[in-house]
Symmetry: C2
Subunit: 154 residues, 2 copies
Amino acid sequence: MVEDASPQGSECPVARTLESIGDRWSLMIIRDAFDGIRRFSEFQKSLGVAKNILASRLKTLVEVGVFDIRPASDGSAYKEYVLTEKGREIFPVVVSIRQWGERFLFKPQETRSVLLDNASGQPLMPLEVRSSNGQKLEPSDCHRMRLVNGVKDA
Amino acid sequence: MVEDASPQGSECPVARTLESIGDRWSLMIIRDAFDGIRRFSEFQKSLGVAKNILASRLKTLVEVGVFDIRPASDGSAYKEYVLTEKGREIFPVVVSIRQWGERFLFKPQETRSVLLDNASGQPLMPLEVRSSNGQKLEPSDCHRMRLVNGVKDA
DNA sequence: CCGTATCCATTCCGATACTG
DNA sequence: CAGTATCGGAATGGATACGG
């Protein structure tokens, strides 16, 4: 018997986010979308995922409002999956994941894909956690608090 | 037949990161660790996860170098799981996930947990993707590139 | 208290075949 | 091309019992 748990209703935003886009494929699909991929077959080719599960993931990502479906821009009869604003705002998540992986999961000369600034061709600045007045924060500089109806609930 | 795919050897840092900490529980465990949780039973209580799978996840997180095992600080016979530097550097990932969830997955007055700066008691600054010279970047301002032995490829 | 071992249910995933 | 339908296998998760 679990007393916790309504899975869709976690109070922690981290948990709730992972419930909606934390599965094995969604973030990879979104990563590809940031690369300009929009068509079913392009996602499929890039990810090497089975078509049925790609279809399933795209459907739920549309349902949760991360993608919109639009008619194809080239006039072909098919649809395109384009990120909504909600979807585009996942960018920092993907970038932070990428930066951690680059730093800790690759040997220096190992072949990898990198994300570069169009203007300069340079790598991006590492994402940093900062306070509201711009101070860099370590994990120990923060604490979690429960917010009930807008008021703190120690 | 898949020609892609050596799962541990993806060239994309996003993919490789998700392979190592992208399962359903690891990021939740790490989130709790940022809250100061170190003991098996505390993780278990906080997450409501079965003991066997918690044990399994902690073991692999130690293996990949995200946690260290240390003797308990209170002198009891048991161990503590503390984040390594590699583990602590996941902080921006957890924070970006949290911020996205807060913004898009909660109604304004809905009960949630928030992360506050110890010094000011204020919420954190939203993470932003920036270029090496500090310019804010949108997804379309970036492009992916393959890096082979340190040189650009295509 | 801190796990491990076992067993079972469920979910997820890939391959294939099929439809418009 | 863009999916849907179906099926079997693999991975994952939960409950429980047990041992150090």
